[in-house]
Symmetry: C2
Subunit: 177 residues, 2 copies
């Protein structure tokens, strides 16, 4: 989790000298999004560590989250995750060294290589999926199932409005899996 940025607030007309307090009481959308993301990252990777996956960091989530058993090209991973292909290459190097993925030649294109999860990589994915599902269940318990379902729909609708790429920094550097 190299969390890398902060945000702002839509607090309206805070009286002088009270801004920092108002922001903590009525945080803007950026702060809410950041808290949601980083708290999720913390918990997911802490729990992954307890389950034998202590060497992967949120950075690797950009790769792990989008792998599937059939293999995915690095370029595709870059597109999905919104990272530069050089960075994807490095992350794949690291994951390969840790035994989470393998590179195989793509039979359909000799320039390309498929990034394929190993059994360990698949295990990490399963654990990460479980952990996130568990967190989501907890949130559903906090605000109620219907409210949580609506929250997810609303987030999906809002985020579908915007696209993103390497120069648009879409991604979810937050997904571990």
């Amino acid at each position: 989790m190299t969390s890398t940025e902060w945000y702002y607030t839509g607090v309206t007309h805070a009286p002088e000298g009270e801004r920092s307090r108002m922001i903590t009481q009525d945080p803007d959308l950026g702060i809410l999004a950041a808290r949601l993301l980083f708290s999720l990252q913390r918990e997911v990777f802490a729990r992954l560590a307890e389950r034998g996956h202590g060497e992967v960091s949120p950075r690797h989530g950009a790769i792990l989250a989008y792998l599937d058993a059939g293999g995915v090209r690095a370029t595709e991973l870059a597109r999905l995750s919104g990272r530069h292909k050089q960075i994807v290459g490095r992350l794949v190097d690291e994951l390969e060294a840790l035994g989470y993925v393998e590179r195989r030649p793509d039979p359909a294109d000799r320039r390309a290589k498929l990034v394929v999860p190993t059994e360990r990589g698949l295990d990490e994915q399963r654990h990460a999926d479980e952990i996130i599902a568990d967190i989501e269940r907890r949130h559903a318990g906090t605000i109620g199932e219907p409210a949580y379902a609506q929250l997810r729909r609303a987030l999906k609708a809002i985020t579908d409005e915007t696209a993103a790429g390497p120069d648009q920094q879409d991604d979810s550097r937050s997904t571990p899996g």
Copy 2:
């Protein structure tokens, strides 16, 4: 925007070879949070740049978001933003060089210094507030005012459950100020 991490997905039981596609169709909470945060960051700082504040980055948001006219101690900013105090010190150095803040001695404690926004800093805050409010209005238009109000309440309720500090990376590196 040095966005720095990605996340995972709670996709349940994706059939082999279909994971990456399912994730894009039904992204997990981490990916949703990341997209929300980074798209907001991109837009806020792009629009701030158009309004004469092109030299501040999302990193500075951790400071700018929590300043108020009365001044805030660096330690308090570190606590609010979840960054280490060394980093806060550096960000304040940068903002001071750019003319957004000043350091003044704290009359109540000769060890401490108050970080006080200059007129330029206050201008940035006002613009950032307006931009975020505008984005929030757009989102409300997309999913409806009541749904958006509920989204905000739900996010607040969920994020209030978790605290965060320098070693818990709460913050919202996303807020510009």
